[in-house]
Amino acid sequence: MSTAKNININLKIWRQKGPNAKGSMETYKLDNVSTASSFLEMLDQLNEQLINERKEPIAFDHDCREGICGMCSLYINGRAHGPDTGITTCQLHMRMFKDGDTIYVEPWRSKAFPVIKDLVVDRSAFDRIQQAGGFVSVNTSGNTIDANATPVPKADADKSFEAAACIGCGACVATCKNGSAMLFVGAKVSQYALLPQGKVEAAQRVLNMVRQMDEEGFGNCTNTGACEIECPKGISLENIARMNREYLKASLT
């Protein structure tokens, strides 16, 4: 038996025409939202309403809508990916809200993530950090070695895999009071530093990635722990500590 019901909600949503336009919070009323729908389906419903009223629909990022691509990115009622833990915005359901609620929807706020339009931000800063070191150099010209030929301790493989679960959504930056990207960079550094294949370039990797992170204008971690709580993939603060160790080691040798 379905327990879904329909609710009426008020929305306060950030609207901004373009990168250089001045934006503002706009108020919308949306009736008959099924609590069985997802948050993004609710926004789809609002956009249909706006289109019917011949108004500009709200731009927001999304792709897979199943929590794996890292594209969706909304700051909902004061929390990155909304009022639930361990989920992306696309996995947030309207059953988390009550009839008559007012819901604030804002883009990620960070100097390094400028708003492109409405709720869409430019996260290419993350791409540039990845390009600075988030890879291993492997010769693929016909003589690749089977990955399993290099033995990896199970505990290390597990930790590396947990770090690799980061989908680059940027919720850590969005929720951090310092706008720090250290959870993301910590995860990317750890993912390779833990594996024998990644150890070869470990020192240069961490130096380059941290330098790029600083250049992009992200803030400095003060260990509040907010990122770990809001990260949809449960990336642990241990990864930031590992990055700090790796960087110290790389700096002193």
């Binding site: 004061g78 929390r79 803030g219 400095n220 241990e238 960087y247 700096s251």
Partner: protein, 278 residues
């Protein structure tokens, strides 16, 4: 070293923050051990002897310079980090709910630190600068009964006593704040103890402001307690020390340290103001 920008990079700043912060925690333990002597009854002389040791011993001198440098570096670095962190989010959120994911102290380290800085400066003006520079710093005296008549004597660093009368009558004069000179021969005969104990007690028992000073001191210690509640364990994370084996122990230790140290510091002026008989 050069390739990592060891002073400038975000992580390097964090290492310095953590190292100076932890060094200041060590300093707090030393300072507290000294202050706690104020709670021992009839301990003025021992306290002043300790104060003399702390201002003259060469090893302690090195430590104290390290402490000054740490405070300055920690404060400048902390303020620089905070300015950068503010700049990293030029447009804020219309609605945010930070208490859902992080403890209050961790989000207010800069405010707490700035209050501590103001406290340290006023504290140094009140006590440290008087100890080091005040020309009218009182010297330790003691009342001894001579044939039923109480008489004041200066206590001297060689364990002896000088009748205060002789100074009052200008037979002995005091030079350089602590040196007793024979007035006639103009030669140094003995040295006295600066009476830091007396100054401290007078400060917190001041008829007009003693209560305010005591309360402000307690407030400063509460602020420091919150700074350390987050800071102590945070420093280990900054230095890359995080492991499920020992991190829970560090967190517990940090909370205990923060509460115990601030509480013990705060007890002292409260005792002097409310309970110590002048």
């Amino acid at each position: 070293m050069a390739k990592s920008a060891f002073l400038k990079s975000s992580l390097a700043k964090k290492y310095w923050m953590a190292l100076t912060g932890l060094f200041l925690c060590l300093f707090l333990m030393g300072h507290l051990a000294g202050n706690l002597q104020l709670l021992v009854p009839n301990n003025a002389l021992n306290f002043n002897k300790y104060a003399l040791f702390m201002t003259t011993n060469p090893a302690v001198k090195i430590l104290s310079y390290l402490t000054y440098i740490s405070i300055i570096f920690h404060a400048i670095d902390g303020i620089m980090l905070t300015i950068q962190n503010k700049a990293a989010r030029p447009v804020g959120y219309a609605k945010s709910n930070p208490s859902a994911n992080s403890p209050w102290a961790s989000r207010n380290m800069a405010v707490l630190g700035t209050i501590i800085l103001v406290f340290i400066v006023t504290h140094m003006v009140q006590f440290w600068s008087r100890m080091h520079f005040d020309q009218n710093m009182p010297l330790q005296t003691i009342a001894i009964n001579m044939q039923g008549m109480p008489q004041e004597f200066y206590v001297t660093t060689d364990g002896g006593y000088l009748p205060k009368m002789q100074v009052d009558q200008k037979m002995i004069i005091i030079k350089d704040r602590t040196d007793f000179y024979d007035a006639a021969a103009n030669v140094k005969i003995k040295e006295g103890y600066k009476d830091l104990y007396k100054i401290t007690v007078a400060f917190f028992q001041d008829a007009k402001y003693g209560l305010i000073y005591t309360l402000l001191y307690v407030v400063a210690m509460i602020v420091m307690g919150f700074h350390l509640l987050h800071g102590f364990s945070s420093a280990f994370q900054s230095l890359g020390l995080n492991h499920s084996k020992y991190t829970p122990a560090i967190k517990t230790l940090g909370k205990g340290f923060a509460i115990l140290v601030s509480l013990l510091f705060a007890v002292i002026p409260v005792y002097i103001h409310f309970f110590l008989k002048a």
